[in-house]
């Protein structure tokens, strides 16, 4: 029994490599997309605002699973064929980028107008004001919402199993079918819980760090 658990855990751990890869690629690039999207949304350039509103409306308003199917099974119809991992990564980055765009936009807009005015009368330009005054304060305010998304991403990553990507969940599913045992699912659940807990703890530490002021 114990040996079996060790064996299956090793197998599922291999599958989790894909999960981790997808997680970090998505986390890094969707945050970048989110910052750019948020700055675009507050830019007061009407065309840019409209495009970004359409973007967040579509990607937050349709299922991630549909978007994944679209990228993997739909795009080939248009002559664009992606391998499973790029298809998954692209879908996740664009989807999470839409959520981060709205979260960061809300965060930036919650900063008092007086902060911009103070920066302006001190001679700071737009770039200095955003990077040194507004965004650092925004980070603190968006941490809780970002933390939620970071945990959602752990769980959403399991969706890639449906396009045949060998992730953590798929490895567990394969083991369940092969061994006719429920244990692989339990092990997978434990893995997900551990990952989520690490993320929650990391964000709690970050929030503590930022609580020195206010």
């Amino acid at each position: 029994m114990f040996d079996y658990i060790i064996n299956v855990s090793g197998y599922i751990l291999e599958g989790s490599i894909v999960t981790f890869q997808l997680y970090f690629v998505t986390a890094i690039f969707s945050v970048i997309v989110g910052i750019a999207g948020a700055l675009g949304k507050i830019s007061k350039i009407p065309l840019l605002e409209s495009i970004l509103s359409l973007y967040t409306w579509v990607f937050r308003g349709t299922p991630l699973l549909l978007q994944l199917f679209f990228a993997y099974y739909g795009l080939p119809v248009l002559g664009i064929t992606l391998q499973p991992f790029p298809a998954a990564a692209l879908t996740f980055i664009i989807n999470y980028g839409a959520y981060f765009t709205e979260i960061f936009r809300g965060g930036i807009e919650s900063i008092d107008e007086g902060q911009y005015e103070a920066a302006k009368v001190l001679g700071m330009n737009y770039r200095q004001t955003m990077s040194r005054i507004i965004i650092p304060q925004t980070v603190k305010r968006v941490l809780p919402a970002t933390s939620n998304e970071a945990i959602n991403l752990v769980k959403d990553s399991a969706l890639v199993a449906v396009i045949g990507l060998g992730d953590l969940l798929r490895a567990a599913k394969v083991a369940v079918t092969r061994d006719f045992s429920i244990i692989p699912f339990i092990i997978a659940a434990v893995f997900y819980l551990v990952i989520s807990s690490v993320i929650v703890t990391a964000f709690r530490k970050l929030e503590e760090k930022y609580s020195v002021y206010e």
Binding site: Q115, V121, G123, R132, Q137, V212, E214
Partner: protein
């Protein structure tokens, strides 16, 4: 030397005309108080001087340089203190002071820091260097804000109701700092409701009403012998309020 020259300044917010042809001069070293009822355009005037509001028409010269021609440059000669302090909450008191000198002026950090410590001593907050704004009282915050503006070594200081959001017992400490500055002959414009302060400290008082400066005179004149009924009734009203609230 003429520090500020304003000619026929107009400013509207949509339909609402807030400044309706304001003209005045301010000389080097003068302390000017701007008084008048709320909505008379006092704050808008101050904010227009430093470019927080764009004027619709009129001419504005800072130290002889036209705002239109110089763009941002003329504003760099001014510092501003807000009613709501607007300190950077994520930075310590010291960081608030050295931020602009280092980032905007390119001063060396050590230099900016030495200067900042000097300024904090001047406003009586040497022990608060490493505090965050949230740990300070309103009066302390405003003194930090004054020091922060001074750290950029402006020729002209603008104060927009610097004591209006303070508890009454904290007003004095801020006014003392501003009074000291006036004695150092820094050119300053102060929008204020503190009539006693305006009378004691300023070289001239502007009385604004409906977007115009309707009186530009020495404090003795405006407070002792106001020229118009409008000013008289305003002063009577505000002085009775002040007396009843103390």
């Amino acid at each position: 030397m003429e520090m500020i020259k304003a000619k026929n300044i107009y400013k509207s917010f949509g339909e609402l005309e807030v400044l309706s042809g304001v003209s005045f001069n301010v000389n080097q070293g003068e302390a000017i108080s701007i008084i008048g009822p709320s909505g008379s355009g006092k704050s808008t005037l101050l904010r227009s001087l430093i470019g927080l509001e764009e004027i619709n028409s009129g001419e504005l010269y800072i130290e002889g340089i036209s705002i239109k021609e110089s763009g941002k440059k003329a504003y760099e000669k001014m510092g501003m203190v807000f009613q709501g302090f607007n300190l950077f909450p994520h930075k310590t008191v010291l960081e608030n002071l050295i931020e602009a000198p280092v980032v905007v002026k390119g001063e060396k950090k050590a230099e900016a820091q030495a200067k900042a410590e000097e300024l904090l001593k001047k406003v009586g907050l040497s022990d608060k260097v490493d505090s965050y704004p949230a740990q300070l009282s309103g009066g302390q915050k405003q003194r930090v804000a004054i020091a922060r503006a001074l750290a950029m070594e402006p020729d002209i200081m603008l104060f927009d109701e610097p004591t209006s959001s303070l508890d009454p017992e904290l007003v004095g400490e801020v006014l003392t700092v501003i009074r000291d500055l006036a004695e150092e002959n820094i050119t300053m414009l102060i929008v204020t409701h503190e009539m006693g302060f305006a009378r004691d400290v300023s070289d001239r008082v502007f009385f604004m009403d409906h977007g115009k400066i309707i009186s530009d005179t020495v404090p003795e004149k405006i407070f002792v012998n106001p020229e118009s009924e409008r000013i008289k009734s305003f002063l009577t009203k505000i002085l009775s309020q002040t007396n009843s609230s103390h």
